[in-house]
């Protein structure tokens, strides 16, 4: 949004607020809108120039700071704020979907979403579909997280494809690229780990308090691709038609080759997911390095081909 739009939109919100709270202190108004006094003064000066055609003393908006109080008069047509824009509606609606996934069914949330559709131009969200995974384990994980309780997971790793049981102290839950991840301390490996909630086959909330570091930096988990100590670098060549791979995975590098193929590098802590991706791509991808990935892939592909050879 441009500065101009931002300013006009703020004014369309500020006038109704002050009209309903005439005489509010400068501090109150500035805090409510997150602006400085100088900005408020300049906004009020602008309003002073606006009003109904004629633009005489009886037509213009009266706006002033009297002592420490903010006053606006002669602007009855702005006594109610404007409807939510489609973008505003989508924000709250998407947030509500995420909250419903984490927190389970909440009647207040459902009623609020219903009210939300009234606050929008008719039909705004009618043709919008927000698909969000909500594995049943998610609400147990959140419950444990909010109550600072340890959990016991049966976990099928995506990167290594092995099933393990682990006790984990939950630290943070985050949705990224459509998947929910739990960050926490894994007592099995005695280290910090990230778990995909949809790969949890079961979750048991234990009667033990979780240990949470005081200096936990939540912003680290906003992107799930945080550096892992055991990451291995992998290099692949992919055909131009499989270019979508470059959009889907965080790459270390990407170079166009002479024959039009693309050489990409990425890091991973396990090969299982890559093997499945490569099986999916078939002749559209080749493994350049490491050799161990190539061997593993070829042996899986040959075993699978065998089944189809009847």
């Amino acid at each position: 949004m441009t500065n101009l739009e931002e300013r006009v939109q703020r004014l369309l919100l500020l006038v109704p607020y002050v009209l309903r709270n005439n005489g509010a202190s400068v501090r109150e108004v500035c805090d409510h809108f997150g602006i400085k006094r100088s900005q408020l003064v300049s906004d009020l000066n602008l309003l002073f120039m606006c009003g109904l055609p004629g633009y005489g003393p009886g037509d213009l908006i009266e706006a002033s700071i009297d002592g420490d109080q903010v006053w606006i008069r002669m602007a009855d047509y702005f006594s109610r704020p404007m409807r939510l824009t489609a973008a505003e509606g989508l924000m709250l609606y998407s947030g509500a979907k995420a909250l419903a996934a984490v927190g389970g069914a909440d009647p207040a949330l459902n009623r609020a979403v219903e009210q939300l559709s009234k606050a929008l131009a008719p039909g705004s969200l009618e043709r919008v579909s927000v698909g969000l995974e909500a594995p049943e384990e998610l609400s147990s994980v959140n419950e444990a997280l909010q109550q600072h309780r340890r959990i016991r997971l049966v976990y099928q790793s995506h990167s290594k494809d092995e099933v393990t049981e682990r006790d984990v102290d939950p630290w943070a839950l985050t949705l990224s690229a459509g998947r929910w991840y739990l960050a926490g301390w894994c007592h099995r490996v005695d280290d910090e780990r990230l778990f995909r909630v949809d790969r949890m086959r079961s979750v048991e909330v234990l009667d033990t308090d979780a240990e949470i570091p005081d200096d936990l930096d939540l912003s680290r988990y906003e992107s799930v691709y945080f550096e892992s100590a055991q990451a291995v670098e992998v290099t692949l060549d992919i055909e131009p038609t499989a270019r979508w791979v470059c959009d889907y995975y965080p790459l270390v590098s990407q170079v166009k080759l002479d024959d039009g193929w693309i050489r990409i590098s990425l890091t991973t802590s396990g090969f299982a997911w890559l093997e499945r991706l490569l099986l999916r791509l078939g002749p559209m991808a080749r493994v350049v390095a490491p050799e161990s990935l190539k061997e593993k892939l070829v042996s899986t592909a040959c075993a699978m081909a065998e089944r189809y050879s009847d």
């Binding site: 055609p53 973008a87 709250l92 947030g95 207040a108 594995p135 959140n142 099928q156 985050t174």
Partner: protein, 321 residues
């Protein structure tokens, strides 16, 4: 020199308070900042201002100023401009604050202004956020807002799009918008091919624009038999208009729980090995890719054509240099 923000506010007040639609000519004469300019430069300014209003979500209507339809005029309809009385209960308001707080780290802005419109008094501090949880819904995707507006106003869109077949300009009628796996997709009728297609918004190069941004009113109808949900429930390899094949697939027990979660549109039936399913497909190659992506745990049983294709694909992997 009259500032643009002042001119826009005066325009909003005039169009909101007028009883009759006002002609462009009257707007030109009345509002300070338009007056001194020649008609041509006024027209250009006014076109931009109308677009500006639309971008801010302010509804603008164009209709006849008199019974004889001789002249067209503009107004902002009050019933579409004002927020209706909602009377959100405190727990409902708190739920919306919590919902917005999940997005807080990555996506502030519109969520906050929406909450401020809904109430002057925020819920108490401790009810405003859900600690330790955050959700990136991909709402920072460029062009999301204009796409959404075009969708609800039924306005045609133009953009440059990169797909497997290359990059070219598209002109589309938007039918739906959907969030899947952190990305936003526009479902729209592509004019050039006269077919419904899905477009990933982050594959658009540059901006999505309305073809006629300042023209008020809807520009197309969505066919009555179109269902967004119906469209979305079809897997990618069953989207085309081609002939449908029924394929029979089997999953072993360590894979079937995962298939159930990752492909919820599939109807699995128990089987001695794990589970079986019948899948309707129109794109052989897309289907085989999808199935091979489940690794050793999945096998297509019939038809033979697809078994052959799967074998060829796997052999190509085995034979790679």
């Amino acid at each position: 020199m009259v500032r643009k923000s002042e001119r826009l506010l005066n325009l909003i007040v005039m169009l909101l308070e007028t009883k009759q639609p006002v002609s462009a000519e009257l707007i030109h004469r009345t509002i300070p900042g338009y007056g001194q300019d020649q008609w041509d430069s006024f027209k250009r300014m006014f076109e931009r201002d109308k677009e500006e209003l639309r971008e801010m979500g302010i509804p603008l209507e164009l209709s006849a100023t008199d019974l004889w339809d001789a002249e067209q005029g503009y107004r902002i309809p009050k019933d579409r401009y004002y927020l209706p009385e909602l009377n959100l209960a405190p727990d409902e308001l708190a739920a919306l604050w919590l919902a917005a707080s999940l997005l807080r780290m990555s996506e502030p802005g519109p969520a906050r202004s929406a909450l401020m419109k809904l109430s002057d008094t925020p819920p108490p501090e401790e009810q405003r956020s859900l600690s330790l949880v955050s959700a990136d819904m991909g709402l920072a995707a460029p062009n999301l807002s204009v796409t959404l507006d075009a969708l609800s106003e039924r306005k045609q869109l133009t953009f440059r799009y990169r797909s497997r077949s290359g990059t070219r300009n598209r002109t589309v009628d938007p039918y739906g918008l959907t969030h899947r796996r952190g990305r936003w997709y526009l479902i729209a009728r592509d004019e050039a091919v006269a077919q419904i297609r899905s477009f990933r918004l982050d594959r658009v190069e540059g901006s999505v624009r309305m073809t006629h941004p300042s023209r008020p009113g809807p520009e197309f109808e969505i066919p009555e038999d179109f269902s967004l949900q119906g469209y979305l429930e079809r897997p990618p390899f069953a989207q085309g208009e081609q002939e449908v094949t029924e394929a029979r697939v089997v999953f072993d027990s360590s894979t079937s729980w995962w298939v159930e979660r990752s492909s919820p549109w599939l109807h699995l039936e128990p089987h001695e090995q794990g589970a079986v399913a019948t899948v309707e497909i129109t794109d052989d190659s897309g289907f085989v890719s999808w199935l091979l992506g489940y690794g050793r745990g999945a096998e297509v049983l019939e038809p033979q054509r697809l078994r052959d294709l799967a074998r060829q694909r796997l052999e190509a992997v085995c034979d790679q240099p």
